[in-house]
């Protein structure tokens, strides 16, 4: 068995992180910023799925919706209600941005669950752009809307005066940690799940363990289906919460 593990084909080989490798679609050259890679491919597939669902699926504009149209409407209604509930009525005009984030994360997460596929949201580069994008946009929006009053977010007027600087310091730190946790949460969850599945898949090469291993893969896969949806939801609702802070810094 130990021999097998070192064998080239079908042995016990663990490469749980190979699935995250970025490679050019054509040829094997260096990866420049414009090179079409598997990132491009899977983001493109996600884009096509989004277009299929939200454009082709709603083409008929039926009053009584078809199945596809009702899925699109459900997502629209779900996110719209979330944005409105969390950020209030004036937050509704930011709905398209938040909906864009949501569908992108949702579709890349779920497409990543297809075996042999690639998951852009498992990369910190992608989620950091999303997380910091939200952070910068929300911070600028806060200053644009409220000027220096936006800093009132950190100055708790209802706390005792002595504690206020301490609380302000903690609030500032937590504010700047937001984009980091926001992006690492998503990438970490997706990456960990995929890596664990791959590790269990590696064990499946051992005949004695393979039933357990396959059962574990199925179980974790089920968990990952949940995680894919939940992480898209969590990312979206946190974006709404941050947006609410920018729109109403006075708590």
């Amino acid at each position: 068995m130990a021999e097998e593990a070192h064998g080239e084909g079908g042995g016990l080989v663990f490469h749980p992180l190979d699935q995250f490798k970025i490679s050019p679609l054509f040829g094997d050259g260096p990866i420049a910023w414009y090179t079409p890679t598997n990132v491009t491919l899977w983001m493109g597939i996600a884009l096509l799925c989004i277009i299929a669902l939200f454009v082709l699926g709603t083409r008929a504009r039926d009053i009584i919706p078809s199945r596809v149209q009702s899925v699109a409407e459900l997502m629209y209604g779900f996110i719209y209600k979330m944005v409105e509930d969390v950020t209030g009525h004036e937050g509704a005009k930011y709905f398209p941005y938040i909906f864009t984030l949501f569908v992108f994360i949702l579709f890349t997460n779920y497409l990543g669950l297809i075996p042999m596929s690639f998951t852009p949201t498992s990369h910190i580069a992608v989620t950091a752009v999303l997380g910091f994008g939200v952070f910068i946009a929300v911070t600028l929006l806060g200053f644009y809307k409220h000027g220096t009053h936006f800093l009132g977010l950190f100055w708790m007027t209802d706390a005792p005066l002595i504690l206020r600087p301490v609380i302000a310091l903690i609030e500032v730190i937590s504010y700047f940690v937001r984009p980091v946790s926001h992006s690492i949460r998503l990438a970490g969850n997706i990456m960990a799940g995929h890596a664990v599945i791959k590790v269990f898949a590696g064990f499946a090469a051992i005949a004695a363990i393979s039933p357990v291993s396959i059962a574990a893969i199925v179980a974790i896969y089920g968990l990952e289906v949940l995680v894919a949806g939940i992480q898209a939801y969590v990312f979206t609702i946190l974006t709404c919460v941050y947006l609410k802070d920018a729109l109403h810094p006075g708590h």
Partner: protein, 177 residues
């Protein structure tokens, strides 16, 4: 044993570096991410979201209209039922009136007929009375005549002659007596 060993190898292999931390691929990922997000945003805001929004609004409008129409129809049905009930009550009242009138008419006819019959009966009775009294009177006259004649005959038989006037007066006195 083999598993542990293999796991060790796996760890070694992955220890070569996480693809996530390969900074050389970052510009590529970020570029394609921004392109994708841009296209998604464009497609959603230009086509999908307005369309879904209008469909939802339209559906809401249709449902509101339908509910209003249903409410109106319900009101109409209630009105119609009320009108029907009214008509029914009126018809019943009318029928009652007609029955009463008919009864009154019949009663009147009956009264007239009864009165007429009573009158006829009375007339007949009176006639009969008259006939009876006539007969009675006739009988009295006949008795007077017979008495007169008998008296005249008796007087004649006894050999007397009598004046008719005195005879009549004597008989009348006796008859009254």
């Amino acid at each position: 044993m083999a598993t542990e060993e293999a796991a060790g190898h796996g760890a070694e292999a992955s220890g070569a570096g996480m693809p996530q931390l390969d900074f050389s691929t970052f510009p590529n990922q970020i570029f394609w991410l921004l392109v994708t997000l841009g296209v998604i945003y464009f497609v959603l805001t230009r086509i999908a979201l307005p369309r879904i929004g209008s469909v939802l609004a339209e559906r809401k409008g249709t449902i509101t209209n339908d509910l209003a129409a249903a409410e109106e129809l319900k009101q109409k049905a209630v009105d119609a039922e009320k009108a029907y009930q009214d008509a029914l009550t009126k018809a019943r009242a009318e029928a009652g009136k007609i029955v009463a009138e008919a009864k009154a008419d019949i009663q009147k006819d009956l009264d007239i007929a009864t009165a007429k019959a009573d009158a006829q009966i009375a007339a007949r009775a009176a006639e009969s009375e008259k006939t009876i009294s006539e007969i009675r009177a006739g009988a009295a006259d006949a008795v007077a005549d017979v008495a007169k004649e008998t008296t005249a005959a008796l007087v004649a038989a006894l050999g007397g002659s009598v004046d008719a006037k005195a005879l009549a007066a004597a008989v009348a006195v006796r008859l009254k007596g």
